[in-house]
């Protein structure tokens, strides 16, 4: 299957959209009509051809445009990509994982030839053709994490494992839902999750940490997380809050369908072999409300989830200002019919 990469923007004129064929493969995050936190982790096995769970690192029609947006963010703010000095080995683990996976899963787009330490990598969509010595960072234009992070959709954090905890010691984060690498870098698992409401009391993080500390090599896991974003903007960082915060005041009942986007993170967890660190890709998918409701099951369910969302979560996810009109708008797509289990459209 050849992917037609869209020429589109995630800022200013916001030309981002999903083509009709791309809509049904959206990772809709609600398996039921009600939402509450859970440690909703499952093995990251190849699942359902055509879905974003088919391959280790999903490549879709937004790939090239997302990589251009990342380059713009990094040019403005190099602090979005940071690695503490001990994280270089982990950077190379990341290079290997992405290159091996993509060359295997998308042979028409990516090619990798390994001859001992000498690696030849071809990335056709981004027109990259590089030869380098694996493990020799001086042969790359930048840190290995940045090199490969500019070629893979989604933000990537790398967590060092020591002292029975995980430490956010490296990352390339340009498409985040309102958290800052610059603020969090060097923090441990509980520190960087401190702002999340309710989940601490539920013991979610204790269980999640125990799970991650024992994550075996070759057995990645995944979960979905979600929020809402006004306009298809990838870079909703605290650093740029003045640019996107005011967008929330622009939502009206008339423009809600095009303005409000369901923002889903496909989070995966990978044990890295040489560094014993954990790679944490956070892959963001955006879909306008108008696109979501083209799938009747999703329209019904999203209405029910939003209507019954706990107030703490409405607040934490930054939805307070437009939550009531969104629920009202969504209600026109909910005829009360039952919905089928699972996330995929009927």
């Amino acid at each position: 299957m050849t992917i037609q990469f869209r020429n589109e923007t995630f800022r200013n004129d916001f030309t981002y959209a999903n083509s009709p064929g791309n809509i049904p493969r959206f990772p809709f995050p609600f398996p039921e009509d009600v939402y509450m936190y859970s440690t909703n982790v499952e093995p990251h096995h190849a699942t359902r051809a055509g879905s974003p769970f088919e391959h280790a690192f999903d490549v879709d029609e937004h790939y090239v445009a997302e990589m251009k947006d990342r380059a713009l963010v990094l040019a403005d703010d190099p602090g979005r990509c940071q690695a503490l000095p001990h994280m270089e080995t982990a950077g190379w683990d990341f290079v290997e994982l992405v290159m091996v996976s993509k060359a295997r899963d998308y042979p028409d787009l990516f090619e990798l030839t390994i001859d001992g330490d000498r690696w030849h990598w071809i990335n056709k969509p981004l027109q990259i053709d590089d030869t380098f010595i694996f493990g020799d960072s001086s042969a790359l234009p930048c840190h290995p994490m940045e090199y490969i992070g500019r070629q893979v959709q989604g933000d990537h954090a790398i967590l060092d494992q020591r002292d029975g905890n995980l430490w956010l010691d490296a990352g390339i984060i340009t498409a985040q839902a309102d958290w800052s690498l610059d603020f969090d870098v060097g923090m441990n698992f509980f520190e960087w999750h401190a702002p999340v409401p309710l989940a601490h009391e539920l013991g979610v993080f204790q269980r999640a940490l125990k799970f991650l500390l024992s994550l075996p090599q070759g057995q990645p896991s995944r979960r979905l997380n979600w929020t809402l974003t006004v306009n298809p903007r990838l870079d909703t960082s605290p650093e740029n809050y003045p640019k996107w915060g005011p967008d929330r005041t622009t939502v009206t009942p008339e423009n809600i369908g095009e303005k409000i986007h369901l923002r889903v993170e496909l989070q995966t967890f990978w044990r890295l072999p040489r560094s014993n660190a954990i790679l944490f890709p956070i892959r963001t998918y955006l879909m306008a409300m108008n696109e979501v409701v083209t799938q009747p099951k999703w329209g019904r369910r999203l209405h029910r989830v939003m209507r019954d969302l706990r107030p703490e979560l409405v607040e934490y996810k930054g939805l307070s200002r437009y939550h009531p009109i969104l629920v009202e708008w969504l209600s026109q797509f909910d005829d009360g019919a039952p919905t089928s289990p699972g996330i995929f459209p009927d």
Partner: protein, 321 residues
């Protein structure tokens, strides 16, 4: 979920008698594929099919983490143990097919360290051989102090001195004894991390000496030998599964649970990592807590057990599995 759920088929490519009590086993992928990369200090779980008995023992990888063509482990023969090491010594020979887990590292180098100070006792040398290969490739300063009972039992001592030169200092009990820990630990550059693997007494001595000298706890790393003890047979009720299982004298409770098909988390299989911690529903009798994980209060409460190493003696034990 555990690493040993997804096994890698290998063939024993070489068996070497290192000395009278230690053999080295080398494994290659059954189809000649590369084996997973790993980091120094990692172990694999080796599955042993001994007639109708299935044992799973963890052994540290001693081959270089940069060598993907084969893995090497060393096994010290323990005639009083559950039979795993005896099986390896007596039954395993070159050409045999076996299954191993992907590498798991519960004893990794702290890559922030300015210097790695490694202290090994006896067969505790094996994880350090891989770690030294890693440190030396990364250009990180390291120093190994390796103590053995006798020169004859000091596996790899000569070859390590050949490979790593002055970074390696050896000690034998029959020739003056082990390192002076107080002296060693009181004179290290700031940012040094100390790692110890060896007999219980050695680990305790290193941890205590370092702590007394003011070393931060996060700079002290240790790994206990990983082997469940033998004991008397007992039976256990698994409450969620609704079944009774029998644990043989040379079988661990964990192995018996696995044999019943009941899911249970685990990693180190040696009472150190905490993954298999299980709630006790009913305990009419005594639990022999052989782990390094539970604290004294948890043990006294009889509400927790580590099935990988701990055993039971009494009327009834019911677990939340």
């Amino acid at each position: 979920m555990s690493a040993s759920d997804h096994l890698i088929p290998v063939v024993v490519s070489k068996v070497v008698e290192v000395n009278s009590i230690i053999k080295r086993f080398e494994f290659k992928h059954i189809h000649g594929n590369e084996l997973p990369a790993f980091s120094g200090g990692a172990h694999i779980v080796v599955e042993m099919l001994d007639g109708s008995t299935k044992r799973k023992n963890a052994y540290s990888l001693m081959s270089s983490p940069f060598e993907r063509g084969q893995y090497a482990i060393s096994v010290r023969r323990d005639d009083d143990g559950r039979g795993g090491s005896k099986f390896m010594h007596e039954k395993v020979e070159a050409g045999m097919k076996m299954n191993i887990s992907a590498p798991v590292n519960l004893f990794s180098l702290d890559l922030r360290a300015r210097k790695h100070l490694m202290i090994a006792g006896g067969i505790g040398i094996t994880p350090f051989i891989a770690q030294m290969a890693q440190a030396s490739e990364l250009g990180a300063p390291f120093e190994l102090h390796y103590a053995a009972r006798t020169a004859a039992q000091a596996a790899y001592m000569d070859s390590l001195q050949d490979r790593f030169g002055d970074n390696v200092t050896c000690y034998c009990d029959d020739a003056g004894g082990g390192p002076d820990l107080a002296e060693l630990l009181s004179d290290q550059p700031l940012g040094t991390h100390v790692y110890v693997c060896g007999p219980k007494g050695m680990i305790e001595a290193v941890v205590k000496t370092a702590t007394d000298l003011g070393w931060p706890a996060a700079h002290i790393h240790f790994e206990h030998f990983l082997s469940p003890p033998v004991g008397q047979a007992f039976s256990v009720h698994l409450a969620k599964a609704g079944i009774d299982i029998a644990v043989g004298p040379e079988q661990s409770l964990l192995e018996a649970i696995e044999a019943s098909g009941t899911p249970v988390n685990c990693l180190c299989r040696g009472g150190a990592c905490g993954q298999c911690e299980t709630r006790v529903v009913t305990c009419d009798g005594d639990i022999a807590h052989n782990d390094h994980w539970l604290d004294d209060d948890q043990r006294a409460s009889k509400q927790f057990i580590m099935p990988c190493v701990s055993r039971f003696r009494g009327e009834r034990l019911e677990l939340d599995l």
